[in-house]
Subunit: 297 residues, 6 copies
């Protein structure tokens, strides 16, 4: 069960209104690497987890991410507080309001549609979608996804910090960024606490293809590195079709009836290489009429 304390996890002091910066910051409120995505990623994993240790960790961190969602949303609300009130009270000349809405970023939609409240969109106004969440119900996959997600969130906070000189916002964003680092560490520790963490699942790979590097892109610029070179790696520099040694085709066994129907379809829609396709577009004739000869209406 969740509870809420009206004090934020981190105090927020904003120097003054800035709806454009507010729209930038939405990237971490309703964007793909934002705090809602983080909270929901860990929360859904936690509910389905069978290991009590990971379950506890996932719910701990999910809960903290909700607190971070509140911090970032509160900053957005502060940056928009003035424009929200002016818009609601009709307290500007129209021409002035027009300019206020057209300052940049996604500030126009944030004001017109969302009334200056924090919206669950990214910095372009794209609504948050659960398509951002990659929980798959396997702990070694999910922990890797979490590690990656935390690292993405960290870099986006860094970019935002680099783009504002409001000291209170920089400080709060710095806190949020730091917590992503801490969470990434927890998830790494949890991943390596699973004895059998690679590859995910139980099925081993096919031996001949586990250590093969396929050099699919060729020409000047081919490089060697630990990802494709060394004792560990076999190389396919072709690249070679039909690595299985077969003919590289796809086929299916069809019952005799089905084969006939497939043949009928192929014949009916045959692309005739010999056709004179010059005058095909006329549609004046009734439906089903031949398409190769133009017909007067």
């Amino acid at each position: 069960m969740f509870m809420h304390n009206k004090r934020l996890q981190y105090t927020v002091r904003v120097e003054g209104p800035d709806p454009v910066l507010a729209s930038f910051l939405l990237e971490q409120f309703g964007g793909p690497d934002g705090e809602l995505a983080a909270a929901m990623r860990y929360f859904t994993q936690g509910l389905g987890e069978v290991d009590p240790g990971r379950k506890d960790m996932l719910l701990d961190i999910a809960t903290e991410e909700l607190s971070h969602l509140e911090v970032i949303g509160s900053i957005v609300a502060m940056l928009n507080k003035g424009v929200k009130a002016r818009l609601s009270e009709g307290a500007m000349e129209e021409a002035e309001m027009y300019l206020a809405l057209n300052q940049g970023g996604n500030s126009h939609t944030q004001s017109i549609l969302y009334g200056g409240g924090p919206s669950l969109t990214n910095s372009s106004g794209v609504p948050w979608t659960a398509a951002y969440i990659d929980s798959r119900g396997d702990p070694t996959c999910d922990l890797r996804s979490n590690i990656a997600a935390e690292s993405r969130a960290k870099i986006i906070y860094e970019r935002l910090i680099n783009a504002t000189d409001d000291p209170g916002i920089k400080d709060a964003l710095g806190f949020l960024m730091t917590r992503e680092i801490a969470h990434q560490k927890s998830f790494e520790k949890a991943l390596y606490a699973i004895d059998d963490n690679f590859p995910p699942g139980k099925l081993p790979g096919q031996d001949e293809f586990t250590n093969l590097y396929v050099n699919g892109s060729q020409g000047d610029g081919d490089m060697d590195g630990p990802w494709n070179s060394g004792e560990m790696w076999d190389r396919d520099d072709g690249p070679t079709p039909a690595l299985d040694g077969g003919d590289g085709t796809a086929s299916v066994k069809l019952a005799s009836d089905d084969s006939k129907i497939v043949k009928a379809l192929a014949e009916r829609t045959l692309s005739d290489p010999g056709v004179d396709a010059v005058t095909g577009a006329d549609l004046g004739a009734g439906p089903g009429a031949g398409r190769t000869t133009p017909v007067e209406d």
Copy 2:
């Protein structure tokens, strides 16, 4: 520049039609962890990459993933070949066709809308979206995302392999699954070949919060593990609001005019705790009329 060879990277032999299985397999064609997502993740990263080694690797693997997209799509096409022809040729009684469309999975939409061709949807018919792609333009983030994506793709192939006894399909899926393992290794090697891979970016964290574990979920079931215990970790077992030591509020400095407008807004929309809100819904009066007393039409 891309080129194509008509032979597949792996030969595909399908025992017989099965539109339901086809719809399951779409998870790896047009699903979030499918081959298009993989190809586009690495391709977009490759185009923006400044390091020639990683650029080469990303284009190598992106190219191979396109070849895998072709393999999985070809299996889907084979499984649907019969239903596609029957549907196109009107070669079934209506009642029989109705049953053929209602076998399960997402086979009905795959036939009615997509005509039995492989569609870029997941196994529920949800169209593929670039929201699945988490390329962020930072190599240490992107490689971690790639590692996670490969591990997710591996586990989904495993689930599909466990759900079909068609030997040709099992074999081809096994190949595709194995290649995800190999790619995961390449991306791990590439990540650790970057000297400064943690944390992502250049900004360090705030020292006091880097090693702090916030125990947000409390009660029976609190567990210790390497993710929250040991020398490395400080603990906040509160959890504690306002970790910065402030008052935990959010505030913004507003110009005097704005403050007045905010006040006007607050007063106009005041929630009056003393109001008798019993009979508020009548809308018979003109707009703007007080809402607290019902009015006859």
Copy 3:
């Protein structure tokens, strides 16, 4: 700041596994009227609210909705616990697993993609989107939206209760349904505690159109009711174009240059009613060639 207690707000006893029912229940986990939508609707409103009373109420209820999200997600996890384990451990014959995945609802995708964990999708597998959230930053709008949302959630819980005979699930769903009723009441009370709650905002309507009912659909079946009849209503039984008394056209003043360019566009793309459009499709000629006469390659 949020905190979490490991005990649920309501105890959940599930009779046995049922992945199909689990997929139905997702409607209230990741569907448009589900608990995440509720929580995020009130949470975003609360962050932007200037009235301390409503802010408190919105955060109270947002917090409870998160607890409900946990209850419904936990039921889903219980219903899927068996299939998740069987899938993860490869503990079924393939043909048996295929049947287990094809029982109906959206159970196939829930297993293959989400591994049996609760996913933020609706009962068809459509990912949750913030497009479901209609917070607009005006309290009289937002409260009406909340009242409507609670009533929708109530009816969907009722439908789900009517479709399961598992007593533990019925009981928990009954609790969740009841809480929607209570929340609806709170939001109604809060709406009518705003003195000036209709119409939303500050601008009055245009007098002549405020009480007009436009009878746009005509013929047998025209009905009278309090929504279009009585002293309050004027009627337009036409319906009448150009209610303003003008000519009903749309026009814009263009600078002379622009007018010329618009004219040039109109001429270049003129639809010539006299053309003999019989043989238009040939594209054998070079680009830009006239389209009215077929040309030999």
Copy 4:
């Protein structure tokens, strides 16, 4: 059956081109509270309605909303008429056209992609989605959703009116805004014409939880109001886990086989709190190899 009259429901006079304002106005063309959403909300409800009175009303208003869609779309077309022609005729120097596309709002995409025609997107270019429509097939829910939708549409028109000084546009938007007020009244009247309108559906709530207010957010700022105080309300100031009096856990009865498989899964993926997770990342060994000891390639 629908018919169309070429005269608009309201005459539109636009002072001059303004692609930025056009992109703002799209909020009411293809945005979540725009006229298409309104028309389709009522139209889909009307088709499924069994009560002839409401059915008539819903089709009346749906039809009028389509006429409003035409008015707002026509304004957008007028505002873009110049840029559309210039773009189509290549009638600007490139540098000038670049600037013309970069004036703000979403004008760039509206020109490049949509060619200056009115597009079914919101003011950020987000395509309209039926996810905006909350018709649920229950009249007391649907009417509440309609009341809320009309109030949202009203407030967005108000914001747009406050942001333009073009008198013809202000006048037309004022008409459209007023009609939302009138529609809201009709829907309120129709709701209260249903005798049994609360709660929606037929199932009553669980008595002990119908009048309970859960004070989920605590600390300074806790407020009383008619939504949580007075004779009507019981209070849970805890908030209290397991309101049912149980243990607050979630559980499911599993068959013996399933229990064993769940146990096997838990063991295989155990998070070992004692593990030394220092050196886990090496993937040089074959798949399936233990992860706790680094291995030379």
Copy 5:
């Protein structure tokens, strides 16, 4: 301005309830080639059109498509009428209702979420999106898109007709299908009534690449046809990189400062081919520490 007549454009007689068939038919209500997509495609084009002839045609056909939307939606409502009432009235035993919801197609979501009313989703429950609409503001493009859209709608109606033996539904679907044929003809006629209809727009192509066929897919299965062979076509059988004769690279001129920063970025994130990446995963050290050597906590 739109008006509505309560009589449908075509009479609908349905033999009996069938929620599964209803969900199939949604493909033409809220699917990508359904009637809403058709209506909105032509309506948005009509509003932006400068040619009075095409504008009239587009509004004529848009209006008719809305009438078709009503016909198909009415069929869906009839097919669901029984389940809607049973669900609303709680008129089934739970186990029976569970089975009624799980008959197949998307019938479960159509009942649980949409209450049996016609929903603007496709046959899988995917909400309609304006992403389906390809209006681009150029008449020769838009007419081609319309021709294609009508042909797609025709084929989907054919598939649906082939899957039901309800004579009333077959008859009504046959009408709707036929109208798509008629509309396709109108759009073809309108396209060829534009003198300069190919290529779209005003810019000619680059001469050397207008008639070139690039044989990108090679190997067994290379075929000749009028699309790549004959006097009209030049051939690139390579395919050849850098068709312009350049070096096939991408480059940009950067100011000296920028070049230095790019270099710094490349160095900081260098992939070192010589690194021993064996033991990289430990994160026990502080942020920023080198990643090549494991460190004790």
Copy 6:
């Protein structure tokens, strides 16, 4: 199987950085008519095609479109190269970076979220979706869709060319635009090489409605053209409801039990035209209480 050559199909020389232009160009990278949409449209069609000639053509052109995706993405990467490096290296004062992010178009999100790499979004930041792809598994439909798609892509390239004076970019875009023209020709040739290409599929239309033009939009502005006039066309100038000669209603035969339940539903939710709906909103009474009389708490 796909292969890649590191040389582009066309050499790209960019004059200098321009993140705003980069965001415009994304329209052809991740927009609805962009190169990914083209490649995936033809690729999915090719996999399902039974005619070897069309299959070859579709794979040829799909492969080339992937090469075009690489060209346009490389231009975007070049235009963003400077901002990507500055952002990554923290090489700007905050205020300066803020301005750099707020230059217009969608450049802010492209930098903050995507780090300057080419993203699969359109020029507004809307993620690419497979909803853009209209492959339907019928060759005469699909070829028409391809013809339309190529013509749309051509016009968007033209608009982009008209908006940049960078000679290298103009040249490369001119190449890409020209290739769309060539592809359109190939698809036209392939369409008319199918003997039976109209109407799509096998079912003929209903004779009486095949050549009927329904004049749905009436009044000043009614026009004649080859799309509605001439020997070929019958006219319905009404427009006429119930073209079938029936009564224009929709009905379904229900079993006796169902009819009773429908009646019960109608009665329970009756809209009573005689009700005094003045004081309906009070929710103070318990659930289920009558709504027509206000009740004290």
